[in-house]
């Protein structure tokens, strides 16, 4: 059952169109990813859902509510982690949670919540003395303090080290397992692939596709990548003219050839004919980032 419905959402800042006719639905109990490059309009989209912006067009329903008209009720049911938001420097973690808990009719027990987030020993620590990862977890705690039905988490692992990132992923799964629908905004492929039941791909304000990670990848199935470092200069045109090759990219000394069919054979034949040795040769199956390139003609992260 759909808990969030977005139809033809349009949002313009001054003259710049940030979101241009985006539609999707989020089902109850799923982790729904919104994936796209910087400036794609992800934050703008979810902030319209949160009722922080008034859309210029389209309709939004969250658990049957209109985010602008039913503001107050929406805020009681929706937990939000903003992309950029801090707390006062000197507030203690426990104080912040206690304060925010008082804003809701039936709040979660904040001590229990802190323990679940691995912050039990930080309750008396001032916000400014927390590490980046700990701040992020406090932010998640504040999003969950009101026992929301839906939690919207915007870029929750940006700036975290790999270990903290994986810990946070486990946490998001726990939140979902506790029955909360999660909307996760990210520009990390790996994060989306690992966590999301379904993903909306957004590029330049437009919705490119909505599908499961596997479903997105299957759209480029059969596509592969050959990566190598030519020992001598190589005319790229020799590769691009092959029927198996869809495109070639240069990464410093490395060449990345994407294509279908017997790609490896086709590429190595060309190299052999030109007597060029390929060092560090690797072959990779298509993933979510290839799906993104295929669907938008652009790369997700540069």
């Amino acid at each position: 059952m759909a808990i969030i419905e977005v139809v033809d959402l349009v949002k313009t800042y001054d003259r710049k169109v940030a979101v241009d006719g985006v539609s999707f639905t989020v089902d109850e109990g799923e982790i729904f990813g919104i994936l796209g490059p910087n400036g794609a309009g992800k934050t703008t989209t979810v902030e319209c859902v949160e009722g922080l912006h008034t859309p210029d067009g389209g309709t939004i329903r969250v658990d049957g509510l209109d985010p602008r008209r039913d503001r107050a009720e929406l805020r009681a049911r929706l937990g939000v982690q903003l992309q950029q938001s801090e707390l006062p420097d000197r507030i203690r973690v426990g104080e912040a949670l206690d304060l925010y808990a008082s804003f809701y009719r039936d709040p979660a027990d904040w001590r229990e919540l802190l323990a679940r987030l691995g912050l039990a020993d930080r309750a008396k620590t001032e916000y400014r003395k927390l590490s980046g990862g700990q701040k992020q977890r406090v932010s998640i705690a504040l999003a969950l303090i009101g026992k929301p039905k839906v939690a919207v988490l915007d870029e929750l692992t940006t700036g975290l080290d790999p270990q903290a990132r994986r810990d946070t992923w486990d946490l998001v799964e726990q939140i979902r397992d506790a029955g909360v629908t999660v909307v996760l905004v990210t520009h990390f492929m790996e994060e989306a692939e690992r966590l999301c039941d379904r993903i909306a791909l957004i590029d330049a304000g437009r919705l490119v596709a909505v599908d499961s990670p596997a479903g997105l990848v299957s759209r480029v199935d059969g596509e592969q990548r050959v990566r190598f470092r030519p020992a001598a200069p190589l005319d790229v045109a020799l590769l691009t003219e092959l029927p198996e090759v869809s495109h070639v990219e240069r990464h410093g000394p490395q060449l990345v050839v994407t294509g279908t069919g017997n790609l490896l054979h086709a590429v190595t034949s060309v190299l052999a004919r030109n007597q060029i040795v390929a060092a560090d040769l690797r072959i990779e199956q298509a993933g979510l980032d290839d799906a993104f390139i295929r669907l938008t003609g652009r790369k997700l992260t540069e």
């Binding site: 922080l52 939000v80 707390l87 104080e95 304060l99 804003f103 009101g146």
Partner: protein, 241 residues
């Protein structure tokens, strides 16, 4: 709401510079000035009052001006810059509550600061307490509210915390100057004194109520008007993000 005020109050107490300037500074300044014998001797230029007698109302101005025009706008602007206000908007509680809580914290701090000042005035220097306590209380309150409204106006219009600090300082200096905090008021030309009497926080009304007459309603009216106008404009034009 009570919890927001309580939390903001705790945060205020944890900023040592704020507490020192808003609560202790006027009293300390009184003690320092009072330690100078010449300033403790009645002088015919002040109508046989001592310098410190005449300067007390300016000390009150210092406390009120600091709270309304320094602490308030810088705190509010930094809350906006850090996204504290924005995070409030995602909860069932409107961020305006946070601003109201700030003003209430100002009132509490102002009361403590002025009571402390009065106690030292009375116990150490034998300066009379305000002769018209009710008028004095009303004037202090209106004075602080009018300065807080101006402070919020600065915070509403300033693009970021840094420029809020800058703008607030300009207004702060003006208020301090007209309030006689830099140059005692009897050294200022008459026309400046007249302006100062009406300007928030209403040093004219402060002095009157301290010396025993009910404050001039015109003075109080100006303060109330400033509070109302600046407060409304600030509320209407406030940017939450």
């Amino acid at each position: 709401m009570l919890k927001i005020v309580k939390t903001e109050w705790k945060l205020f107490l944890r900023e040592p510079s704020m507490v020192v300037f808003a609560v202790l500074f006027p009293t300390v300044l009184l003690l320092v000035l009072g330690a100078i014998p010449a300033l403790r001797t009645p002088d015919p230029t002040f109508g046989d009052l001592r310098f410190i007698d005449a300067y007390v109302s300016s000390l009150v101005v210092i406390a009120l001006a600091f709270l309304g025009l320094n602490k308030l706008p810088t705190t509010v602007a930094s809350y906006r810059e850090k996204g504290v206000l924005r995070r409030f908007s995602t909860t069932p509680v409107h961020p305006a509550r946070l601003l109201v809580a700030q003003v209430l914290v100002n009132v509490i701090a102002g009361v403590i600061s002025i009571v402390l000042l009065m106690v030292v005035c009375w116990a150490v220097f034998d300066i009379d307490l305000p002769h018209h306590p009710l008028g004095f209380l009303v004037t202090c309150l209106l004075g602080l509210l009018s300065l807080s409204a101006l402070g919020l106006l600065v915070a509403a219009w300033a693009p970021n915390a840094r420029s809020a600090g800058g703008w607030a300082t300009v207004v702060f200096m003006l208020v301090m100057f007209f309030g006689g905090a830099y140059l005692p008021r009897f050294l200022l030309p008459d026309f400046l004194n007249v302006i100062g009497e009406y300007l928030p926080p209403g040093v004219g009304a402060l002095q009157e109520s301290w010396l025993g007459v009910a404050p001039d309603p015109a003075h109080l009216g100006v303060l109330a008007l400033v509070t109302l106008v600046a407060g409304t404009v600030a509320a209407k034009s406030f940017r939450w993000e």
